[in-house]
């Protein structure tokens, strides 16, 4: 009964999403306040029904109701409660429902936090979001009904894929989806602005915090996914350039470009058409990501769907969204000309250059991800594009991005004196290269890659400090406290996020240059050496969990004659699916991780053990945390609320123009 209620609620949500899509858009066109006002309650009602539907599905999982096909395929009565709940999105149908729920949540957030928006504009935003929502809910209902019954029901379920039974999996998908789907808000704002022909600074200002928050979610989602892959896949890599990772990285790159482009549009009124295109592009890439991951064209742990009908449906959705928005853009492009002028040497130019580079980087990932699929689809042969390609592309593309990223904030808007600025930062630049080369030499790994990476990291850190010192020095005479307080939250956000990139680069460079790895056969009492650490194998004991049998290794980690601790990697066999799993054990440190995983047991009773030494790997995630914090600071800036009030007042008077 409960699953049927959930199914019914989802159908009601679809109806409301159609109402939300059509009525406010018509209302905005006819300037009818009554019709426009329908958007808000429709969006909120839709959220209620999707939430209800989602709770019903979760209930089926918790109750181990194996007459529901989805629960039977993805849960088991012995699965821990946490993984019963997260198992709801560990499959195609449930994850689509989560997608729809995220979208609905964003829409409700728009209705709550955008009271200051002009009615017609809000109506159009809600209309566009309603259209997207209708597309996804109907996709779920037509091709992937999560409430499908299995008649007769089975006594026991097949359990959730063991790889997904992990704490990282509890938060990775919701974070990632909130990020993906969040770009739909930036998209809806851009489309609403195109529809109303009002692409001004106010539009950019309304759009900015939404874009930034979506970007924060996406950053966090990608970082958690990378962390999960690192400790769960058992071989210590943190990024594989796997098509599924690329699917989330492409919108991230374009979303990063969009955030910066929006900044220029807000402050200077420039780059307007470019910003609109980026907003359309970032959302299209989010949809493409969903298509790639969910259609089954890519086979991986994420690809649940193998039904070609589903792939086709998303592809059609993708084509409609991209096609319709580009058509609208073409029709309105003539209104997008103009904006603040700026000279060759200005902050605008440096942001533009970085925007171009980020877009090319995103396109290069797209090429590497789609080209093999394309060849395969046309039966022209099978190829693969691996990490060497992406590394060959990213190092030269990102080097100028990082250099400019720190130089740009020194430049003034509109016009600046290049020579004077270069003279000012040149000492920092020289010092960074010296530090980079020097530390590469100090760690005994003087390759151009290591030296370049460390130089860039030093440049980011030193230039950040210099930038802060300069900002504090602007108000000479004021007390230190009031100088600090005079810095806005959005400035801190920029500063932190950029610093995070520097920390991230240190992690990537060090682990890329200096990691060590050894596969070795070990018997009880034997030991192995790696990177100055001694690993003593103390044997293997049985350690069965609720839904798996496991062998747990005991490995003593010794350095300089001192025991640092015990590492206990596991080899698990999940009973329901008969699937083996490797659970690595980590000794996490500030400057290095030691990582151990069990291979297989040999006939003579010894084990293959994989030992890894990963210097500075945590810095990768610390860098991501700083980027995310930066985003939060930037979105929380008081000025959005203050100016929002002004916009609202101005909108009533009908005289919002391009703000200076």
């Amino acid at each position: 009964m409960i699953p049927e209620l959930g199914h019914f609620a989802l159908i009601l949500a679809l109806v409301l999403s159609l109402v939300q899509a059509v009525v406010p858009l018509v209302g905005a066109q006819r300037n009818s306040a009554a019709l426009m006002a329908v958007g808000r309650p429709a969006a909120q009602g839709q959220f209620f029904f999707i939430l209800f539907s989602y709770v019903c599905l979760t209930w089926a999982f918790i109750q181990s109701d194996f007459s529901v096909q989805l629960a039977a395929s993805n849960s088991h009565s012995e699965t821990p409660l946490m993984y019963k709940i997260t198992g709801v999105w560990g499959n195609h149908e449930g994850s689509l429902l989560l997608w729809a729920m995220s979208l609905s949540l964003w829409t409700v957030a728009v209705t709550v936090f955008s009271r200051h928006l002009p009615d017609a504009f809000l109506a159009r935003v809600l209309g566009v979001l309603g259209l997207v929502s209708a597309g996804f809910i109907s996709f779920t209902l037509v091709t992937s009904n999560p409430f499908e019954r299995l008649l007769p029901g089975v006594a026991e379920g097949r359990d959730l894929n063991p790889l997904l039974q992990d704490p990282g999996m509890i938060i990775h998908p919701p974070l990632l989806y909130m990020g993906y789907v969040g770009f739909s808000v930036a998209f809806a704002f851009a489309i609403a602005a195109l529809l109303s022909g009002r692409l001004d600074a106010a539009w950019a200002r309304w759009s900015r915090p939404w874009t930034t928050v979506a970007w924060v979610f996406l950053t966090a989602g990608i970082a958690v996914g990378s962390g999960w892959a690192y400790y769960e896949l058992g071989w210590g890599g943190w990024w594989f350039w796997d098509p599924v990772e690329n699917a989330s990285f492409m919108p991230w790159l374009l979303g990063t470009a969009l955030m910066h482009s929006l900044a220029v549009t807000e402050k200077r009124g420039a780059f307007r058409s470019w910003t609109v295109l980026l907003a359309i592009g970032a959302f299209s890439l989010s949809l493409l990501g969903t298509f790639l991951v969910r259609s089954g064209v890519i086979t991986s742990v994420h690809a649940f769907a193998t039904d070609p009908k589903r792939g086709l449906y998303i592809l059609a959705l993708l084509v409609i969204v991209i096609g319709a928005s580009l058509l609208l853009y073409a029709a309105r492009a003539n209104k997008l000309m103009g904006g603040g002028s700026f000279s060759l040497v200005s902050r605008e130019t440096s942001l533009l250059a970085n925007n171009v580079l980020l877009t090319v980087a995103s396109a290069s990932v797209l090429l590497g991800t789609l080209y093999p699929l394309f060849l395969d689809a046309l039966n022209l042969g099978k190829i693969s594009v691996g990490p060497p390609y992406f590394e060959a592309v990213f190092v030269p593309l990102m080097t100028p991005v990082v250099v400019l990223m720190m130089f740009g904030p020194f430049l003034r808007w509109k016009d600046d004196d290049l020579l004077a600025e270069v003279r000012r930062v040149a000492p920092i630049f020289v010092a960074s290269v010296a530090i980079g080369v020097g530390s590469a030499w100090a760690v005994d790994h003087l390759t151009w890659r290591t030296a370049l990476g460390l130089s860039l990291a030093a440049w980011v850190v030193l230039a950040s400090l210099r930038l802060l010192a300069r900002r504090l020095g602007e108000r000479a005479g004021a007390s230190a406290g009031s100088r600090l307080r005079s810095i806005t939250a959005s400035w801190w956000g920029m500063w932190l996020a950029h610093l995070g990139i520097g920390i991230f680069i240190i992690g990537v460079t060090m682990v890329g240059s200096l990691d060590r790895h050894l596969d070795v056969k070990m018997k009880e009492g034997q030991h192995a050496e790696l990177a100055g650490y001694t690993f003593v194998f103390r044997g293997v004991v049985d350690a069965d969990g609720p839904n798996y049998d496991a062998a747990r290794g005991n490995i003593e980690l010794v350095r300089d004659g001192r025991v640092l601790g015990m590492l206990d990697p596991e080899k698990r066999l999940y009973r329901a699916q008969g699937m083996p799993m490797t659970e690595a054990a980590l000794d996490i440190g500030v400057f290095r991780d030691v990582y151990v995983s069990l291979g297989e047991q040999l006939e003579d009773g010894s084990w293959i053990v994989s030992l890894y030494y990963k210097p500075f790997i945590s810095w990768i995630w610390v860098g991501c945390v700083l980027m995310g914090l930066g985003g939060i600071f930037a979105a929380a800036d008081r000025r959005y609320r203050r100016l929002a009030a002004r916009d609202a007042a101005a909108a009533v008077d009908g005289r919002v123009g391009a703000a200076a």
Partner: protein
Amino acid sequence: MKARSKRLMLVGGGVALLVAAVALVLSAFQQNLVFFHTPTEIAEGKAPVGKTFRVGGMVEDGSIQREADGVTVRFAITDTAKVIPVTYKGTLPDLFKEGKGAVVQGKLEGGVFQATEVLAKHDENYMPPEAAHAVEQAQKASQTLSQ
């Protein structure tokens, strides 16, 4: 500088940057493509020597052997028509088994495939598409021969 020539420089600079970046991407792409060959193609000498590529098929029954060090493994990949011997040093994926599909990446040296990577898959019932493709090709070829 006049506004017009400034704009020209900006556009020119932007286009130059774009062209350089695209050229870089495309050349890196050309150099780093990894091609896929079936065991039959290798036996026919169609696979490059000394260049990295991928082979897919089934792990032949009874072919897995370990050297004394325990971490060097020899096995054979077959598409049911031809068999290619493979050596690999390292930990094998959890789901690597005789009689199951596998894809390996590496180089061909002296008739033996030196694998640097054995691809891990995430589901026991799942057959890597490259492996399925190789077996399918071989079976098609044998049907053509018997006709």
